[in-house]
């Protein structure tokens, strides 16, 4: 699929500047596919990276359409440049994360705890979990809390634990956030209470 003709691009830009309410939807309809293809072709990246970066690029342009100067070139060139920049950022972030994980893995292997240290930690964790069970009665809340404490950030995993995975996506996200906030408050209160107990 190709980008719109220069004339159509220009018309679309004028509609965006004039705050035409459907111009943004038309922009997505005309630009997404050629934009994703251009990013993929130039950077040899995966479809998801290209698609997410194209979405970012279109919203960046829509946020400040005045940043595009028609005298300096085509709108498609301007937006593609933004998209490629976003894709490069994504790829860099991903490789940095992979490097950090690798380094972290190496440190963990070097610092494997002694067997007795591991047992002590396990006993501490067990005691703490018992305290949590005293204040969190609901099995689903406990399951979700266990996931949160384990570092789980996936909305779908938490929704499954909370038994709300049947909800529509947006509602599921909202409900998971609400439950997560509620459970974090419970933990905060428990933490404060334990600190008070230790202080007395």
């Amino acid at each position: 699929m190709r980008f719109p003709t220069p004339q159509n691009e220009s018309d679309l830009h004028e509609r965006v500047v004039a705050a035409d309410p459907v111009a943004s939807a038309d922009l997505f309809a005309s630009f997404m596919e050629p934009l994703v293809a251009a990013i993929r072709a130039d950077l040899q990246c995966d479809q998801d990276t290209a698609s997410d970066s194209a979405i970012d690029a279109l919203f960046e342009y829509l946020h400040t359409p005045s940043a595009y100067k028609q005298s300096k070139g085509r709108l498609s060139t301007f937006i593609t440049q933004i998209g490629k920049r976003r894709a490069i950022d994504r790829l860099r972030t991903r490789s940095a994360e992979a490097r950090r994980e690798e380094e972290f893995g190496a440190i963990v292997e070097l610092r494997a705890p002694a067997p007795n240290e591991e047992m002590e930690r396990s006993a501490e964790a067990q005691k703490l979990w018992e305290k949590i069970e005293e204040v969190v009665r609901d099995e689903r809340d406990r399951a979700a809390l266990a996931l949160i404490l384990d570092g789980e950030r996936s909305t779908d995993e938490l929704a499954r634990a909370l038994g709300i995975d049947g909800l529509a996506q947006l509602e599921r996200q909202r409900e998971v956030k609400r439950h997560r906030d509620r459970l974090m408050k419970v933990l905060d209160r428990l933490g404060a209470r334990l600190r008070d107990d230790q202080g007395t």
């Binding site: 939807a25 698609s51 194209a54």
Partner: protein
């Protein structure tokens, strides 16, 4: 423009974070009324794909409200009266929520919204 390309859902989700979009306004409405996309689809009498396209539109401006609503409705084959009512309600609830200082008042507003027309307060 009602078919749903693979990227549309992601773009619609992303639109909720842009202050000028209908997506942000509708998601705010859903949050305030504890409803979801399905309720919007029912109210607008459209399909999920159309709702996602709507999310990408600019919210009607106060200065050109009727014209903007008419244009959006015409493009997506919607009833302009239904769309206008939804947008107005979202605007009003957002304004009220912004002025609501504490959560008790907030609950009161939502309870008021739940009453049917002509129904006496409980």
């Amino acid at each position: 423009m009602t078919k749903e390309p693979s990227w549309l859902r992601d773009a619609a989700r992303r639109a909720q974070f842009e202050p000028w979009t209908l997506g942000r306004l509708f998601s705010s409405l859903c949050e305030l009324e504890s409803t979801c996309d399905k309720d919007l689809i029912t109210e607008l009498q459209c399909d999920a794909g159309t709702l996602h396209w709507l999310y990408l539109c600019r919210a009607p401006s106060d200065a050109h409200f009727a014209g903007d609503v008419e244009q959006i409705a015409r493009r997506f084959g919607l009833d302009p009266n239904r769309l206008a009512a939804l947008v107005r309600r979202a605007d009003a609830l957002e304004a009220l929520a912004a002025n609501t200082a504490d959560s008790e008042d907030h609950k009161f507003l939502l309870a008021a919204r739940d009453r049917e027309d002509g129904e006496e307060p409980r």
